[in-house]
Symmetry: D3
Subunit: 142 residues, 6 copies
Amino acid sequence: MPALVYLTRRFEFAAAHRIYNPAWSDEKNAELFGPCSNPMGHGHNYTLEVTIGGTPDPETGYVMDLRQLKKLVEETIIQHLDHKHLNYDVPLLHGKIPSTENLIVLIWDELQKALPGHIRLFRLRLWETNNNYFEYYGEKTD
Amino acid sequence: MPALVYLTRRFEFAAAHRIYNPAWSDEKNAELFGPCSNPMGHGHNYTLEVTIGGTPDPETGYVMDLRQLKKLVEETIIQHLDHKHLNYDVPLLHGKIPSTENLIVLIWDELQKALPGHIRLFRLRLWETNNNYFEYYGEKTD
Amino acid sequence: MPALVYLTRRFEFAAAHRIYNPAWSDEKNAELFGPCSNPMGHGHNYTLEVTIGGTPDPETGYVMDLRQLKKLVEETIIQHLDHKHLNYDVPLLHGKIPSTENLIVLIWDELQKALPGHIRLFRLRLWETNNNYFEYYGEKTD
Amino acid sequence: MPALVYLTRRFEFAAAHRIYNPAWSDEKNAELFGPCSNPMGHGHNYTLEVTIGGTPDPETGYVMDLRQLKKLVEETIIQHLDHKHLNYDVPLLHGKIPSTENLIVLIWDELQKALPGHIRLFRLRLWETNNNYFEYYGEKTD
Amino acid sequence: MPALVYLTRRFEFAAAHRIYNPAWSDEKNAELFGPCSNPMGHGHNYTLEVTIGGTPDPETGYVMDLRQLKKLVEETIIQHLDHKHLNYDVPLLHGKIPSTENLIVLIWDELQKALPGHIRLFRLRLWETNNNYFEYYGEKTD
Amino acid sequence: MPALVYLTRRFEFAAAHRIYNPAWSDEKNAELFGPCSNPMGHGHNYTLEVTIGGTPDPETGYVMDLRQLKKLVEETIIQHLDHKHLNYDVPLLHGKIPSTENLIVLIWDELQKALPGHIRLFRLRLWETNNNYFEYYGEKTD
């Protein structure tokens, strides 16, 4: 029986964002979100780790060619986020608070659609700073 | 259905410890634990990664405000371990060998009690050096 | 009930490899594998993370003495891969394409045989570069 | 004769910026600066390393108490940059292109004024991403 | 007077090498170089840090556009080393022992020729593993 | 003319220390040093970077064989500090406050004596935590 191996590729992008709920007053945003809600926004070097699972192809020894995975993630995700302001420049996030929680779920949905059928998207990990990161396995709660 | 997202915050603390079983002779301690049992102790820069799981709040986009999580872990855990000697200064560890295995389980139990009810403690990862780390998911064996 | 704790030790080794399928022409190898198939090979500083699970021994506080784990992995794995060319110097890989996918599965099988019976091999993580890594949990697909 | 020892403390701040010369047209900005000039800005997790030099005080063994250095840099620099948009929120940068080159020189001038007289500011290192950093030693050219 | 600022860009390349002096017997090579002289070679993920110095251009705020520096170093250096065996595939190293000391001096000479005249090459740092690196400032001894 | 190349090797050791001036009362120690003066001590994973300079030997391509440097530093320095309490277990530090400033100067003096005559000790860098490090170039002030 073939082995199930997981393969992870890391990507970086630099973006600005502002945590802001437009349904609230500026005062309530400032109170609840603190400096994360400063009007002009701030920014991060995000690191995205994309983990896929599959069985190594006997002819290549690869689950998926890393160059192919790199191209797919850069075209589907990174080009749309790098050097952008998440509140203004990213159509996918319109109407959403650009928290890293919301961002990681949207990245998952886009990658799911773009990956070849025999490749399983297993985990996303998204670092916002060196001190915090978010993970998503595609799980839903009731 | 809302997504289940995991959020991790990293913390550092500097502490001393000595691996020592008081039921044994000094010779047996030295033989079994080697330099880890040197009488005056040695120390580490520990890194603790606390991972919680939950669904993003539609009004904030957050599983839990990172500033709130930081405050809770610092008050419950870090203040009691940072710049301490684990064998002498930490009541929770009295009567326990301060191995990183024992320490991570005690941290789990304290955090479980302190976290809000709707937040699930998912994983702790505790780095002792750059070359080794311990993980605990709250699992028990029979 | 005793807690189930996971312990990870990191190892590094420097090795050369060439991704090459001898059943194919040089042209097809070059076309499919790109520079990874350059004839004389290239190399990496691999980092291997070995994760085992178990319950802390009440007398030592240890799942397994880290010095013992280090010795076992170095003798079983690292000595056979460090400063080697994976296509020529590693009997275990003969007849296999030395992709990191194939390598991680072979390391798993060797460690399984070498670890004491009460220790569970939980996960291997093998970094090929700072930007990609592979994980294996011993899973098989149908 | 007392030894001259250098002491470095690292700091992190998250900020947004846009590389933009207001004397130029938007087209020229886009052409010369590429995505760094996108109108809404992007952002980074900056890491600042402050290096001071001095002789250890015989009574404390310290060149300068790290807690005192931390407080001084946070109040003088970090609080004015963290969670800010460098083009709008930082008076010191008004009328300046917020390149990391310009930023590091301004930080130097502020720290020079704030440090105690017996402490020599030796070097600043400012990381913009994991792949680039800037250094300044207070040198001027003719 | 304008400030002199240093700017560093990091690059990675994966290569194989063998430390071997063809004027010696295989036995002497093995004795003096140990496993570094294994016949088929081994490899590393090298990290190259290129540091240049200059004054920020008042119109751009840049010492040198990072994208321009990246392109120049990739074309002059990285493309000739990445995924190569340093003993066979790199004309510049022919007749030289491919130690990291020799490699860093050759990279310096190539970059010196390729950089624009107003840019000063200040320092190269070349990591061979996570535990060792080499630096060169263009200094000669008598 | 031969090139002057600098070579750095990294080492890690785990040690405990307490910042304490025995000429002062416990109250004064607590007031000036804060938690760094807690009676039982605390600890760190120290990282030591030893940088030497020299010209590559034409026969080996090496400034100094890294294995030889590793052995020399481990025997001269690391074995005397690793898994030790710096206030009690290290004769060299007796009568000295075990600040990292004092420690780095003592390491320099020991290494100077132990290195071969044609090798120049250029720089020591000693990390106490991930957020601070100390450097010494052997400089004295008047």
